[in-house]
Subunit: 243 residues, 4 copies
């Protein structure tokens, strides 16, 4: 059983009628509903809760965290953002959605500005699968067509991804590396572009399938915890003479 | 259930007494024995069989192939080697062990010479796990120590691996990228260095664990088969005028 | 001074009036003309010459080869294709243009099928620079807009590129990894998508600039020639006892 | 002319007699001396200067910065460390040496803990060149042998490097990814392991050659400055209807 924590800023959905119309209970609740059939143990939490819902206990018992945020990135406490990033380095998976590209945990883990081009014009996005050997693309056709989405365009200021799973074409002419994986320490990260708050993107079955796949992929591997610091040699050091 | 086919050249074990002493039934049979508890459906086949045991039917029903060869690479039929490589491109996983670096299927898939340095001196190899987020390293400590192995040294003439999982230190001073992943089309490849025929390397529990992990990792993802060739546009082409 | 050999199939330009109208002397001659101001020492050769113009002497004195082919890939002699690939492994740079994705040397070096989607509809291609630290993108703006090009679409069946420099958006909805680098042995390879024979793509200053940049980037590094085979230890092997 | 700024903490060399014996004027002055024949325009600065010598003017006029620090990382002002990291994202090259792995600018750019194993036992390090097509390896043989160095061992907690140029073998049994490249925004980073303060490593001609090569490699490319934010479409958006 994979323990998933869905974190949502949950501000747009309460302030803006057009967002509320799409996600009346919040994006986190729609994600929870859509992912429940996958058999994950799911918790949700939001910005306004104490510690944003991200207590030590919650972090320590989370295998994979899903993060959606947009207008309130700066209201996330620095020490909590750092705790999230540190849990990733220690093995927790992290799925960063859409405008989460500018979230504090993601920026801390990337080391770059994470900026991009954008346009709210409801244009068509076509995400092409460019890595047919990757489990994150399971069950998806050769592309996912979203009739209306916010455009994100390159240059996307991220480090070279470990893997690129999807690349988007937007009607207006831009492209975007829309599905990217990264590893940081013992943790795996997947950035997935779609999900503007005014469109019903998280009701799309292919989008949900990708997120579900990525949760399974990002589940921590049962690997050894790295050991650091002063260490004894395994082998005698009297080996410097050339033979 | 993962269908695994273990292919072994099976020449050393019948000619050389010292090899027969270590692997009396052949390397393939020891691998089969060691991997059976993993729950795979395992078949073995060898060079001397008709079509080297690699008929169309066997290839088509194999999810992951394990390959060990050394002195008889040139006796593998070109068309069969190409059929194996083609099945990898179509999704079959391939685990290439030790001297299989010079096998025809591996060379075809790499596009490089696949040469390396070597020395048969029974020296100590220490494989260090350098990718703690990767499932191939599950259940292994921070290193695997093999008291006696053949040395393989850099430069190892392979393309840049997608991922490096293990790097070896040899007593004599060399290093080697000992666990490397590659993708080719819809298929995943793992090259794993240890396994000289005169040492009991495939009785080592950590070595077997890595091979078992890699079989699960290389199992074909249920992704869409790529479509090639002349294609219709998804979107109207009357879009060339600048807006 | 970089010694550049431009190889062109030179078939379309003699058979098809519409191609001849664009490249009356052949694509190779237009590339030569456009690249001459860069200060390279340029030779051109074509399929119909003895050994396709690719004698041992030509190969050995070439630093970087540019390759354009399309309808006559199969007429390239296997041993010459292998000689080209082998020279790349030994350090010669290789710039593969457009339909050269299906050329024998490129396929040998990739190890994959190199297939893709295509459409001849004269649609708009926008190539986006996605690697602003890379010398191949020098002097180019954030994109290159080609009003009419053949479409190439994903999945492009290549191994994971070492670096992706450009990604294309096509009007019809596709994307393509249009500028990709690979290393093979001591050699560097750059695949660059644009250049259908019926469009004046190689008169575009940005396209030429990218090719010129890639020639300089692919120029062989003055590195040590790898040493392979049986080798002596650098350090005493009496090191197996644990300390 | 490449403008190089060598930054050195310059604490060990004034406190410890054994370090002073090796680098009487400081590591920065030895690096300056050794790199001067390369034709770079070199400046040096140290921790104790105002703003650690890293004023806005110095940063803006630096093409490539070389960084050595060890015991006083925490004394580097946060805002100056961030200014260095930001200049890298904007294009400045950064060469991080040895114990600089724990420096503030490097950690900010990596997003990871950057920890590792270490041992001060004066053991032999052999750095193997594993990327024979890379300009950073120019003029170096297949390895560099340092008779006495501090050991650094894996797991080295960095993101997957863009390229691995050198891997080290240590007598005691460890390995280390000793020469790694990264890109961040428009800037290029090279981490190079050797250089413990008690050994004459920066008098070694091969080590200096690698650093000089990396300075040339990291010199900012003359690429377009990325544009971010709200943007107009290049192409008409009336394209959503399927054709």
């Amino acid at each position: 059983m994979i323990n998933v924590t869905i974190w949502n800023e949950f501000v747009h959905e309460r302030r803006d009628e057009d967002v509320k119309a799409v996600y009346p209970d919040g994006i986190h609740k729609q994600l929870e509903r859509a992912l429940t059939p996958e058999g994950f143990a799911i918790r949700t939490c939001t910005l306004e809760e104490d510690d944003h819902g991200l207590t030590r206990e919650v972090l320590d018992s989370t295998d994979v965290m899903i993060w959606w945020g947009h207008m309130a990135h700066e209201l996330v406490d620095d020490s909590i953002a750092e705790a999230v990033a540190q849990r990733v380095r220690e093995g927790m998976g992290l799925i960063v959605l859409h405008s989460g590209h500018f979230s504090k945990p993601f920026k801390k883990l990337m080391g770059t500005g994470c900026d991009l081009k954008w346009r709210e014009a409801g244009e068509q996005e076509i995400l092409w699968a460019v890595n047919p050997s990757h489990p994150i693309a399971e069950g998806i056709g050769e592309n996912i067509i979203l009739e209306h989405e916010e455009m994100y365009g390159e240059f996307f200021d991220i480090p070279t991804p470990d893997e690129i799973i999807f690349i988007s074409n937007f009607s207006g002419g831009e492209v975007f590396r829309s599905g990217c994986t990264f590893s940081r320490g013992s943790g795996k990260i997947f950035y997935f572009r779609p999900g503007h708050e005014t469109y019903p993107t998280y009701y799309n079955q292919d989008v949900i399938r990708v997120i579900a796949n990525s949760v399974r992929w990002a589940h921590p591997a049962a690997t050894a915890k790295p050991v650091y610091g002063n260490t004894q040699p395994i082998r005698s050091l009297n080996t410097r003479e050339l033979v």
